[in-house]
Symmetry: C2
Subunit: 620 residues, 2 copies
């Protein structure tokens, strides 16, 4: 019989307090009271991002091997620990340094929006029904359908949600037979209410990203976007990257339920935020269109995601899935419909379909290239005749991982860099604050500028002979590094540098992407100059310096006027599908017609990838 004693854990500067059993980790306590601490490994002790400062070090357990490899002796002596490794023994106060906080990022909420004709899956009809009498005692539903048949011409017999049928006798009589009917997809009655209620009804387009959830609340009567809500993806406490979350979900069905629950809670939170801003009752939201990568799709629907992550990367379902809001515990109208747009493949999900919708890539005569950059980068090449796509394992370098001073595009991140011929550095940070690290667009700038200034050669090797005080050996590690910001300019009181190893990480990422579009262009027997349009989607958005991206061959060499940044195209595509059922059909058509090329099975891939590791030569 073990006795469980609770201890108090105070978090600063959040001012939150957890009561935990002795022996819990600091990370568990933080999760309990929803204090966000960075983590990329999901608590394995391998990423070293969850540093916290323990105010009374004697209240916690022994320092682990993992901590010794991530924290310096000075840091350990100052009380720094890794939250996932440190067990709590007594009441304790924990300070979370700025660099370890999960903060609200610069979230790309506005995307390319194509003008969409309003033809939503939901329609509202107003009916004045005759009251039943002894000489016309037609049952309630048949009376309603008879009235409706004069307004709507369904191809198949209409269905009615069972919960609405149950209440129908009460609703009709309360409304004195003067009702508004909400019809889903010209096939299913999902609400009946007194005709004198507000005519407005709403939908939510939501992009469920690995790191963020963004929702647009749309008035389906007018087609207007009335508010936007967004939050960090709450699954982040179980790992920043998808693979860690899939591994967590695969060990136990309860874990999958936890991850599904977090997503549903997250989408509900976005719904509430947007509804609160627009003063809309969430119960007047009847349709949610969701997009996200295939893993998010599976998490949201509670489907085991394991097969998406292991060869041959098979999703459970391609076509769009409609589930009732009641089943998914969404806080919309309980009879509302939750649609998740179709997937193309295990690594090309509904978010990519949304890109296609927003760019009209599958409808246009113009030959287009679309690159949606992320930990997996999706690439599409083609036009309405034929579209080919692939997924590139570009990794999380551009999102700040595996790069010494890498960080996400949040306040304090360096986002733009120029290096002068005298090796001087100009940079710009998000929010204009003192720099804390570098985000992806800055990494591309730095590598391109170093190439231009010949600080690195085409093989990506830093030239140690360059004469500048910014170039030095990393203390005790034998790694050359280039100083981007001096310690007296930074918020961390440390130099922000780019190391030889960091350049290598960026090389790997861009090589994966370059090999992807190179192989697709080859398959389509096209040269970069044959492209009419190049779309850049994904996290960088408009912050990417396209000329530098061309220098490192992250994108092919096309005139700048052919390039369009499409920002968060995923939510734009989801919104289009919300506004028009024709677009929902286009999504289904795209999922069925786009040809997916598995790079792993392509005989050219190894060759192209090796070539693309060089910064110099073209493969097409």
């Amino acid at each position: 019989l073990s006795m469980v004693v609770d201890v108090t854990v105070d978090f600063e500067p959040k001012g939150k307090t957890a009561q935990m059993p002795v022996g819990s980790t600091i990370a568990e306590a933080a999760q309990q009271v929803k204090v966000g601490i960075r983590s990329e490994c999901g608590g394995q002790g391998s990423c070293g991002k969850c540093r916290v400062l323990v105010r009374n070090p004697s209240a916690v357990g022994e320092i682990t091997q993992a901590e010794r490899s991530h924290l310096s002796q000075v840091e350990l002596e100052s009380g720094y620990r890794l939250a996932c490794q440190t067990k709590i023994l007594r009441d304790v106060t924990i300070e979370i340094p700025a660099a370890s906080r999960v903060e609200s990022r610069k979230i790309q909420v506005l995307g390319l929006e194509r003008k969409t004709e309003l033809n939503p899956s939901l329609k509202k009809f107003y009916l004045m029904l005759p009251e039943p009498t002894l000489s016309d005692a037609t049952p309630d539903l048949e009376r309603l359908l008879e009235g409706l048949s004069k307004e709507s011409k369904p191809r198949h017999p209409l269905k009615i949600d069972y919960d609405i049928l149950k209440e129908l006798p009460t609703i009709l009589r309360k409304a004195h037979w003067n009702v508004a009917v909400v019809l889903w997809n010209n096939s299913r009655i999902i609400d009946v209410e007194p005709a004198d209620k507000s005519p407005d009804f709403f939908g939510l387009a939501v992009d469920i990203g690995t790191s963020k959830i963004v929702g647009h609340l749309v008035n389906l009567t007018s087609g207007e976007t009335v508010a936007i809500g967004s939050i960090e993806n709450p699954q982040i406490v179980h790992g920043e990257d998808i693979i860690t979350r899939i591994a967590f979900a695969s060990t136990d069905d309860a874990n999958l339920q936890t991850l599904q629950g977090l997503l549903i809670d997250g989408v509900n939170k976005v719904l509430r935020e947007a509804c609160a801003k627009a003063k809309v009752d969430p119960l007047r939201v009847y349709h949610v269109v969701g997009v996200g990568n295939t893993a998010m799709h599976h998490f949201f629907l509670g489907i085991k995601p394991k097969n998406v992550a292991v060869s041959p990367f098979t999703p459970a379902v391609k076509r769009q899935v409609d589930v009732s809001a009641r089943t998914l515990r969404m806080e919309t109208a309980s009879t509302g419909i939750i649609t998740f747009l179709p997937n193309i493949a295990g690594l090309v999900g509904a978010d990519a379909i949304a890109d296609l919708l927003a760019t009209e890539l599958c409808l246009s005569d113009e030959r287009s290239l679309l690159i949606d950059m992320g930990t997996n980068t999706e690439v599409f090449v083609g036009n309405k005749e034929d579209v080919l796509c692939c997924s590139c394992a570009s990794g999380p370098a551009f999102e700040g991982a595996h790069v010494t001073h890498g960080m996400r595009a949040v306040t304090g991140a360096i986002e733009r860099v120029r290096i002068s011929s005298g090796y001087d550095v100009e940079y710009k940070t998000i929010g204009g604050e003192r720099p804390r690290g570098m985000c992806g667009s800055a990494m591309i700038d730095i590598v391109a500028e170093m190439l231009k200034r010949k600080i690195v050669n085409t093989r990506g090797k830093i030239d140690p002979a360059i004469e500048t005080t910014r170039l030095c050996k990393r203390k005790g590690r034998g790694d050359t590094e280039f100083v981007v910001a001096w310690r007296d300019e930074t918020a961390t009181n440390k130099n922000i540098t780019i190391t030889q190893n960091d350049v290598g990480e960026i090389q790997l990422a861009k090589a994966a992407i370059e090999a992807g579009w190179t192989i697709l262009l080859k398959q389509k027997e096209m040269q970069p100059q044959d492209l009419d349009r190049v779309f850049i989607a994904g996290a960088f958005g408009e912050y990417l310096n396209i000329e530098n991206a061309k220098v490192i061959r992250l994108v092919p060499d096309v005139p700048a006027n052919k390039v369009r940044f499409v920002g968060n195209a995923a939510v734009a595509g989801a919104k289009m599908a919300l506004l028009s059922k024709d677009i929902r059909e286009q999504a289904e058509d795209a999922a069925n017609s786009v040809r997916y090329l598995e790079l792993a099975t392509d005989p050219d891939f190894n060759h192209e990838f090796t070539r693309a590791l060089q910064f110099g030569t073209s493969g097409v």
Copy 2:
């Protein structure tokens, strides 16, 4: 602050014990531990059927006015009380006399069964799917549908139950891609399982009657009925008649939920019983077809039944309703479908539709009359050209209510009677036991025999001048009565008699029915001799003496060879709909084509009813 003290209530001879708060009634205690006590008024103290014997009378509260009007002084002194009126003050032992027990009745479980070609709404397909590879990573659902498209040709894109979709990746891999698919209505996948599981799958046809629930378990692979389950309708504790239950449900939504819950529990119990008999796992039952009157339909689906019972008697829905088993908490496969066949009108329900299916009345050239006798009697006249129907308020007399020695057709009930020219009586009881009362078929015999022997005249008046010791004045009530069984022959030690008042009740019941078929025949411009067939359905079944029924004009005067007893046609019709989706379509067609005549609005009704109160003259 009131203190709740529990007392112990022992029931004999059931041997059950309840723990109840002081002040509970005996009826409540009985309900708590599921001891069945008769009741027709649902606990109002007005029917006097819930007599019990309190062994220690000092343990219960004061005698109420209602009890004084139903129990004699001798009975009260012996400890007899009404269960619904008597409050429990201390630990008490209650004996439930045989006459007050809800016993297993002679339930009509076998009905007329038409030979039905096996074409159920459920089909099973066996598929061997290719395993996914890197060069063919088709998503799981699309792989399944591709395999299925070779076997089944659905008119519309197939749907899949969300619960099955969620598990699909796991099931397919567990089954090594060798699966059996259960398809509903050629439109919806409701199960996927390893192909090597038993090929058999099952359906349940269930008749939800006001007083009983009967279910036939059917093997949908072979079409065979493999077991039958039946119980009393557990709603009976809230009133034996429908009106009492509707009143109860209408006072509070929670009461409606209680009544729905009792029905669902009841059907689950029937399912379990039948499955246990046939050694079938209830989870292999995928389809339930239910029938019942319109009130039972509403109770089962949780729809407020009030409008069915008040003018203009409007049901919530006419068409058949399909609901998932999960939603209704049925213990079949959770993805199974529960179908309730269509209603025609507030007082003509799916059970009447089932009669039509079983008799093929709407398909045949032959001109038919169908009378389904009960508290409400449904009457149909017509053939495939046109069918007219009505509902007659025949009341519960034939089921034993409002008749002094009336009882249901259970063990000890007199079911057949003959009166000799010397006024001697021959009778037969159910089970051959000493008589306890008379059931409906005996009442018809007695009145017919009394007419033949001129003990009553055509106006239904007992002739006091008849010389027999069986004729006497009821003590202290001024009512003439005829002794059917002498006290020394009976189980109750009391004479079993039929009173002037009882004859009046029977007269009212038969007049309602006679007026119904008379008006329908008139509307169709038909004479009794134009009828090719007369079907008698309902509680009496084959126990009805058809010649005596003709004597009192309960049925028209047609040759005996045209009359067919169709027994429990309701469950037979439900089973046919289970066996074939063509029959389900016939049910829908019947609901739409049969014309319902509201007797209350018919100008002939008062005249015909008044005439039919006489035993002599014909209205057609």
